[in-house]
Structures are given as structure tokens and as C-alpha cells.
Amino acid sequence: MGVFVIFIQKAIGQGIGMLYGALGEIVTEKSGNLNLGVPGIMYMGGIAGLMGAFLYEKSVAQPNGTVGLLISFACAFLCAMLGGLIYSVLTITLRANQNVTGLALTTFGVGFGNFFGGSLSQLAGGVGQISVAATGAAYKKTIPGLSNLGVIGDIFFSYGFLTYLCIVIALVLAFFLAKTRKGLNLRAVGENPGTADAAGINVTRYKYLATCIGSGISGLGGLYFVMEYAGGTWTNNGFGDRGWLAIALVIFALWKPLNAIWGSILFGGLYILYLYIPGLNRSTQEIFKMLPYVVTIVVLVVTSFRKSRENQPPDSLGLPYFREDR
């Protein structure tokens, strides 16, 4: 039982970062933009949050965790939005190819994260190991009282606020997309921008906003990883390939935020399953690490077999929209 509880905890810990990425990407894809830059954007969010907190903690004698938290949160969100803005300008205004732009953004973003992560101490005047203890602790703070409820407390209440924020964002997003006028408009833009345009919806504005806000949400995934998972430290490429898994999760969840919640926990579980299967040696562990990707491929193949109308990607996903092309 104890091992199982820890497994669930760790699975959620792995999953939340991907869930942020996936939720941001769902918003983006609902507007018809396939942003393959999400892995880079998550790196950008992570490093910007860390830098914000680091510069703050370095500049005051007694750093206050809450202030550091707010600063790093804002830095992460804004920097990730900046990544989304680059993508938007190139694909929406300048109509560059979405796949290529996304991949360029990933190259840029991952390099950006690793460059500043690896050079931050040098740029700040050789301070050695970067650590933002006060801010990291603030992110890890659990809800007082509730986390002592035994197994229930361990499974549901042993996380920092970013975990709960993520679930809240997923719920709000599900409501927004399904029940509000603006959500309907957004989906219309993604399905058929020509029709949406004819109905008087400002396609460009929806695409810009959805991509930038979506990127901001994705960037929080990087922040989550740096602050809550790694406790306020940076390791180069430490975030690994979770960004691509976030994109995989979007497909796995069939573009539905609520599916993404349990999907992320499943992905997180698959990601670390090899640690909990007894009797694996090093080589078979590596085989188990393939699981999240293989599962995604299976989901891709199965959805393409079934071709049910509800479970398809937005119709204009990946296509640029130019009014005069119609």
C-alpha cells in the first residue's frame, strides 16, 4: 500500500508538468495552430521563472518566499507568452509554415533554457550553484492540516499550489470551451476560419490570444518542473522530453481538457513505471521507458482507425488562414 501511494504521488508529480503543457497546447490547437514549439516554450517558462526568483533572492538580504513566488510566476508566464508571440507573428501575420516555425521555436527555446541555465551563475558574476531556496520552499508548501490526513492526505493534498492551479485551469478550460460564447468562437476559428470570419469573428485576434495565452499556460509546466519538482534548481536538459509528451498528451486526451487530467497522471505513471516493477534490470528498464511513446502511437493509430467525428483534431489544424485565399 505504501509503495502504491508513493507511486501515485510520483505519477502526479510527473504528470502535472505535462498537463500544463498539454492544456496550453489544447487552447492553441483549438484556434487551428499546431504549435510544435511547446517543448521550447516550457524550457523558456522554466528558466525565466528561475531567473526571476534568482535575481530577486540575490538582490535582497532576506528573501521572502511569497514575493519570489509571485515574481517567478509572472516571469515564467510572460517569457512563455513571448515565445508564443514569436510563433504567432511568424505563423499568423507572416504565414510561415507552422510545423517549421514550431520546430525552430523548440530549438530556440531549449537552447535559451540550457544557455541561461548553464551560464546564469557566470553571468551573475560566478556565484557557483544556482539555488532559490526561499522561493522553492514557497512553491512546495502544502495546504496546512489537509496533508496530514493519512493516505487521503498523501494522495490528494501533498502538493504545492501549482498542482491545484493546474487542475483548476483544466476545469475552467473545459467549461470555457464547451459552455461559453467565446469558447464556441474559438472552436469555430479552429474548425473553419473562413466560416468564423464570415460570422464576424476576428480570426486573427482569436488566434493570437489563444496562442499566446496557451503558450503562457504551457510555460507554467516548465516553472512547475523547476520549482516544485526540482526544488528551485536547474539541470541542463533536466526537463528532458516531457514537452513532446505534452503534445502527445493532447492527442491522447482527444483535445479535451478533462481527459488530459487523468491522461497526465497515466503518462506520469508510465514515465516512472520502470522504477516500481520488481525484477527489472537496467536493460529492461530502458524498454519500459518506451511505454509513454508507444501508448501515444497506439492512440494515434486507433483514433485514425475509428474516424469518429467527435474525436478528430480541429479541422484547420496546421493550416494558415489568409482571407484572400478563399
Binding site: 499546431l34 510544435l36 514569436i86 507573428v89 511568424l90 501575420t93 507572416l94 504565414r95 510561415a96 509554415n97 510545423n99 517549421v100 516555425t101 520546430l103 525552430a104 521555436l105 523548440t106 530549438t107 530556440f108 527555446g109 531549449v110 537552447g111 535559451f112 540550457n114 544557455f115 541561461f116 541555465g117 548553464g118 551560464s119 557566470q122 553571468l123 541542463n236 522530453d241 513532446w244 503534445i247 502527445a248 492527442i251 537496467r282 536493460s283 530502458e286 524498454i287 521507458k289 518506451m290 511513446y293 508507444v294 501515444t296 502511437i297 494515434l300 493509430v301 485514425s304 482507425f305 483534431p313 496546421g318 484572400e324
Partner: protein, 368 residues
């Protein structure tokens, strides 16, 4: 008054599609974008290192081609990038988004390494190299064919399928490293056959990377001819433009998709062979090192023209090497090269817009 109201509503710029553009003007726009990106890069490097911009370019130049050894490393890496981009060209010509070059390179590299490790000292070098070449191409082909079959028969999304296969390939590599690690416990393969040089690509005419040069340039020419002049290349282009048209004129679309992806994956597998046998003599998860993704952009920017790819890949690798040199000089992280690559790519991607569309500002339009 009415006229004034109209004037207020007219947008700042008017965008219209260009009918055609002279090749010189198109390359002029690209050149302007590249120059602009270089200015921005210099600005970024200046902001980080306080190095005077002229010095920045001196340092980039020195880092990329300063010594003959550096120049050859730059040429070698550019050739590798070029090889992958050439492999991607047929797939993109068909509008098949092969984002799996990274994985195709890795499986090509891993089987090459396997042959080197298990047969490296048992077979004569020419036979060994030939076997390595063939198995690497076959491995890449298989890796490219898997998503192609699903795309052809069930229209499974190839962008994400190939992307996921990259990571499956990466796990295969780490799986193999467990058995091949040298020295034990290091979790790396180390230089394979460092004493006997079994399976190492020999020098050609005194040039260490002569074979790379020969093979990749031959491929560039071959794929150019294949896409431009052969019947199969024409079929690829038709399928890319419109599958319905292709079906209507009697092209077997499924066959074309699978054949093209086999070629695409095969060339990427060959790139894996070149990396392992002729460059690094080892295998790791970073053997492809993101070049599979950069090559996608190279292939796209060059508009599937394999000769334009030569220019683009040399330029990118040149800048990367230069940026890495500056970074190490200032004790900064070598990922600076990715940041520089990203900035340049953003500018070139953006410049394509001005080649395809004409932008007329409000004021100027009045006069016309």
C-alpha cells in the same frame, strides 16, 4: 468629410499575393533577412559578453574556420546536417511531415555501431563498411516505413507518429548502451574499436572526411535529379500537391507514400552511418543531437532544392560553431549556438512572407 472617414479606415498596409518574383529579388530579400538576423545575433552576444560587435564576428569566424581542423569540423558537421536534409526533401516534397529524422538517424547509427562492435575485427574493412552502409540504410528505411504504412492505409497523422518514434529509437539506443558500455559502469559506449580502428571510415585522398564529402554531394545531386527529372519524382510532387489529382491520373498513392518514405528514411539512416563510422566513432542518444529537427528547417527553407540546402546548412553550422567558440571563451554554455540558430531561423522564416506577398503601405499606394 466622407473621404476623410474612408481614409481613416484604410489599413496601414495592404497585402497582396505576388504573381511572380525574379530570382534575384527573392534572394535579395533572403539576404536582407540574414543580414538583419546577424545584426540581432551580434546584439545578443554583445549584451551577454560586452564583446564589441566587430570582435564578435571575428570570433565567430575564428571559431568556425579559424584553424584547418576547425574548418574541417565545420565542413563535416555541415555535411551531416545536409545529408539529413537531403533525406527529408523527398518526404516534404510529398507534404509528408517526417519529423522523425532524429530517430531514423539513430537507428541507422545504432545498427552501424552494432556491426562495428560485433564484426569490427573479424571482417576486412571494405566488406565491413559495405555491410554497415547497407544495414544502416535498411534500418532507416524500416523506421521511415512504419509511419508511412499507417499514413497510406489509415491516414494516421504522420507528424506525431514520426515524432514519437524518435523517442522509441532513443530508448533502443540506451538499451543497447547497457550492453556495449565501455568502460563498464560509465553508461557510455566510448570510442568503438579505438585501437584497431575497425569499421572506421578511411581517409580519401588525404582528406579525413573525404568520403563524407563524396557521398553527401553525390546524394545531393542524386536526389536533385530524382525529384526534378525522374518519373517517380514527378509522382511525388503530384501526390504532394493533391492526392485527389494523383488518384485521378492513376498514380498509386499508397505505393508512392511508402516508397518515398523508404527513400527518406534510408538516407537518414545513412546519415547515422556517416556519423558513427566517419565522425564520432561512438553511439549515444545525442548522436543525432537535434540535427534531425534542424534539418527539417533546412529542407523547408531550401524549398526542396538540394543545392540551396548546401548553402543553408553550411551557414547554420558556421554560425553554430562560431557561437560555441564565443561561449566557451567566456565560460558560457555552449547551447548559445541553439539560441543563435533559432534567431536566424526566425528571420529567414519571416522573410519568406515578403517573397510570397507584396506589402504596400498606405501612403505609397495612393501615389500608384
Amino acid at each position: 468629410m466622407n473621404k476623410d472617414a474612408m481614409k481613416g479606415r484604410e489599413p496601414l498596409a495592404h497585402i497582396s499575393k505576388r504573381d511572380e518574383i525574379t530570382i534575384w529579388k527573392a534572394w535579395g530579400i533572403r539576404l536582407a533577412a540574414i543580414l538583419l538576423s546577424l545584426v540581432v545575433c551580434a546584439g545578443v552576444i554583445f549584451a551577454l559578453t560586452r564583446l564589441n560587435p566587430i570582435e564578435v564576428y571575428k570570433a565567430i569566424f575564428g571559431g568556425a574556420v579559424g584553424t584547418s581542423r576547425r574548418a574541417w569540423v565545420t565542413i563535416r558537421d555541415a555535411l551531416t546536417l545536409l545529408c539529413i536534409a537531403i533525406g527529408l526533401a523527398p518526404a516534404f516534397r510529398m507534404r509528408f511531415w517526417n519529423t522523425g529524422a532524429e530517430g531514423q538517424v539513430l537507428v541507422g547509427g545504432v545498427v552501424t555501431a552494432a556491426v562495428m562492435i560485433y564484426f569490427g575485427d573479424a571482417l576486412p574493412t571494405p566488406v565491413l563498411l559495405l555491410i554497415m552502409l547497407v544495414v544502416s540504410i535498411l534500418a532507416g528505411m524500416i523506421w521511415g516505413l512504419i509511419p508511412a504504412v499507417f499514413k497510406a492505409y489509415w491516414n494516421t497523422n504522420e507528424t506525431l507518429f514520426t515524432l514519437m518514434l524518435n523517442y522509441v529509437a532513443m530508448q533502443i539506443v540506451t538499451f543497447c548502451i547497457v550492453f556495449w558500455e565501455n568502460p563498464a559502469g560509465s553508461n557510455t559506449v566510448g570510442v568503438i574499436n579505438s585501437a584497431t580502428k575497425g569499421g572506421w571510415m578511411p581517409a580519401l585522398g588525404g582528406l579525413t572526411y573525404g568520403w563524407n564529402l563524396l557521398i553527401v554531394l553525390a546524394l545531393a545531386y542524386g536526389v536533385y535529379v530524382y525529384l526534378r527529372l525522374s518519373k517517380q519524382g514527378y509522382e511525388v510532387a503530384v501526390v504532394g500537391e493533391s492526392e485527389s489529382t494523383a488518384k485521378y491520373v492513376g498514380i498509386n498513392v499508397k505505393k508512392v507514400i511508402m516508397r518515398t518514405m523508404a527513400i527518406s528514411g534510408g538516407i537518414c539512416g545513412l546519415a547515422g552511418f556517416l556519423i558513427v563510422s566517419a565522425c564520432s566513432h561512438t553511439i549515444s542518444t545525442s548522436t543525432a543531437g537535434g540535427r534531425g529537427f534542424t534539418a527539417i528547417i533546412v529542407a523547408w527553407l531550401a524549398k526542396f532544392n538540394t543545392f540551396a540546402m548546401i548553402l543553408v546548412s553550411f551557414f547554420l553550422v558556421f554560425m553554430q560553431k562560431g557561437a560555441m567558440q564565443i561561449a566557451s571563451q567566456f565560460n558560457l554554455n555552449e547551447n548559445a549556438s541553439d539560441v543563435i540558430t533559432g534567431i536566424i531561423l526566425f528571420f529567414i522564416l519571416g522573410s519568406e512572407f515578403f517573397i510570397r506577398y507584396k506589402v504596400e503601405l498606405r501612403g505609397r499606394r495612393k501615389e500608384a
